[in-house]
Amino acid sequence: MDMEFLKSELNELAITDHQRLTGGRMGRRKLEDDDDNNNKEFKSKNLQAERRRRQKLSDRLLTLRSLVPIITNMNKATIIDDAITYIQELQKTSQVLSEQLLEMEGSSEESVMPMKLEIDVAQHDMKKCGIKEEVKVSNIDGNKFLIKIIVEKKRGCFTQLVEAMNYLGFELSETNVTTFSGAMLFSSCVQGKYGDTLMVEHIEELLSEMMKSMKKIPNLPLN
């Protein structure tokens, strides 16, 4: 209701503005006609824009009010206040729950067994599917290479691979990693950052070495 009243009033005022502008200056009307029209349009566009802006704000405040369950008074200031209070309350609740969760996790007796099982299963699967570990490097152009690695999937092996790439001075421009049947396929288009061009065979050698050392590294602990 308020908004309608507002709108109707503004409408009337818009009309009177125009009439006022053109009706008043009788002698100079011709000279200022264009100016009047421009300003009148500007003003009415501005009027509509302002109206829309207010409408937008009002709608959003209504939505906010609908979200907040406890509202004291129904005016604009208190809805903001209530929203602030409600947000604080929700934050507190989520913090309490997350602490509770942490506590439960700490004291939980969930065993480490699933982890070990996982790795055994992985090896088993890989062999079953006939997937072999592999390192393949191809030179695309200059210092750009396409690297394809198939490795047994273990916890943290992706991190190790990325570290290896970093170590070799490669910038990964396109990376794709997929896991299947206990194996991980790492395929990436890399760009050598450093000046010297590495030979394909050299890279393959280095990577194979790294993978061997990766295998030797024990699994990352649970936490």
């Binding site: 507002l6 009033e9 503004l10 009337e12 005022l13 009309i15 009177t16 009439q19 006022r20 502008l21 009706g23 008043g24 200056r25 009788m26 002698g27 100079r28 100016d35 500007f42 937008k56 704000l57 959003r60 405040l61 906010l64 979200l67 907040v68 008074n73 005016n75 200031a77 903001i80 929203a83 602030i84 947000i87 929700l90 934050q91 609740t93 989520s94 729950l97 969760l101 439960m104 996790e105 939980s108 007796e109 969930e110 699933p114 750009k144 916890r155 943290g156 992706f158 991190t159 570290e163 910038e171 990964l172 421009s173 396109e174 794709n176 990693v177 997929t178 760009q191 950052k193 649970l222």
Partner: protein, 435 residues
């Protein structure tokens, strides 16, 4: 200025002269338009009217000013003004008649203006508004530079009702009235942003007073007054505005990734954040319940193990009943987004599968840090895809939560954006090698 044309004693045929006169003291249409643009309406009518009224009422000081600012021909109009400005309704009708004689448009304007005025109720002599109307007048008293030039667009017929409303208080004791204004109303000339209810303020440059609120708010002002004054007791409207702005800013600080600084965006961000918080709380509740179920189940298993030797049959039945109670059918699903200046993180969790999207302005290859974080969070990488797109790095991670871990979306998103931003900030600016 129009008052000169429209006063009863004024010869309509001398209107062109008047206009010429008006044209003289450096009037520019733009000046007028600027002042009118800001106010939606009748406020300018008011002020022009008051301007003239005050000129009429307080002749002594003003006559000097008038003589200074205007030509001689102007000054001779003023006596007309003082003598003949009516203090009763009857003249208004004559005023009404006059514009129609001059031009039909002006008459229509006047009529509609009057209608608008009447409808808007701005001229209803409620105590609040009446006292408001004092203000513009008094502002002109101390101000020497009365700008008559800025008035040309207003049909002065509108002035008249006001005139009648406001003049009954005796003109000579005007100033006394001013002194005795209710608290909160300051003489605008002294205080540049004087704020009575309705936000009148004084533009010091050319002495124009403008209403900051439009006519439609005239009705609302009373309500706001009542609400504001009864509950908060603000001394001034300005304080109320400042207080409200502070509240908006406070709301903005609570939101994790605020966007624009205008009221609508602040409220929009707050709405999104409340929805997000509700989702997080729900998610956490589900996790806690699941965890509790799991713990109870494992306890039961232990007791069962201990008792299994004793009586296998009974224990089995018991455990079935218990697990049924504990069984939590709710599927955890949540979706969060976090945005910072250079990075954007999107985390979606359905049950135990987490999908993370990361977009970061290209500076460092964040893949290493992200993968380390994912290991920390006990997320098993199933699939990664991404790379360099234009100025940005964009990655998609499909992961699975390891059994027993209870990470939640909010935690993941927050940690991720922190790590990424930290690394971004820490890395020195490097020139990117392009493919």
């Amino acid at each position: 200025m129009k008052v000169y044309e429209e006063s009863g004693c004024f010869d309509p045929h001398s209107i062109p002269d008047c206009q010429e006169l008006m044209g003289l003291p450096g009037t520019t249409p733009t000046n007028c338009h600027n002042s009118l643009e800001d106010t939606l309406n009748v406020s300018s009518y008011n002020h022009h009217h008051h301007e003239d009224a005050s000129a009429a009422l307080d002749m002594e000081p003003h006559q000097h000013y008038l003589l200074d600012n205007t030509t001689n021909s102007h000054s001779h109009l003023i006596p007309y003004l003082t003598q003949d400005l009516p203090y009763d309704q009857s003249h208004w009708e004559s005023f009404n008649v006059l514009p129609s004689s001059s031009s039909p448009e002006a008459a229509a304007a006047a009529a509609s203006a009057a209608a608008a005025a009447a409808a808007a109720g701005a001229y209803t002599p409620t105590p609040d508004l009446l006292s408001l109307f004092h203000l513009p007048r008094c502002s002109f008293l101390p101000n020497p530079s009365i700008s008559f030039e800025t008035t040309p667009g207003s049909p002065s017929v509108v002035y008249d009702p006001l005139f009648h409303l406001n003049l009954p208080p005796q003109p000579p004791v005007f100033r006394e009235l001013l002194q005795s204004l209710p608290h909160g109303y300051t003489v605008p000339a002294d205080d540049k942003d004087a704020a009575g209810v309705g936000g009148l303020y004084h533009d010091g440059d050319n002495g124009i007073i403008q209403f900051t609120r439009d006519i439609s708010m005239a009705g609302r002002a009373k309500d706001r007054d009542k609400a504001g004054k009864t509950t908060k007791h603000f001394a001034t409207e300005r304080e109320r505005r400042v207080h409200l702005n502070d509240k908006y800013q406070a709301l903005r600080t609570m939101v994790p990734s605020p966007t624009k600084n205008d009221r609508a965006s602040i409220v929009g961000d707050a709405i999104d954040y409340i929805k997000e918080l509700l989702g997080t709380v729900r998610e956490l509740q589900i996790l806690v319940d699941k965890k509790r179920c799991g713990q109870e189940r494992s306890k039961r298993l232990k007791t069962e193990d201990a008792a299994s030797a004793a009586d296998a049959g009974d224990v089995e039945i018991k455990s079935l009943g218990d697990t049924e109670q504990c069984y939590n059918t709710s599927l955890r699903s949540s979706w969060l987004q976090r945005k910072s200046k250079d990075s954007e993180v999107d985390v979606r969790i359905v049950d135990d599968e987490v999908t993370i999207k990361l977009v970061q302005r290209k500076k460092i290859n964040c893949l290493l840090f992200v993968s380390r974080l994912l290991d920390e969070l006990q997320l098993d990488l199933l699939h990664v895809a991404g790379g360099n797109i234009g100025d940005y790095y964009s990655f998609l991670f499909n992961t699975k939560i390891y059994e027993g871990s209870s990470v939640y979306a909010c935690a993941i998103a927050n940690k991720l954006i922190d790590v990424v931003d930290k690394q971004y900030a820490a890395a020195p600016p490097t020139s990117s090698t392009s493919l």
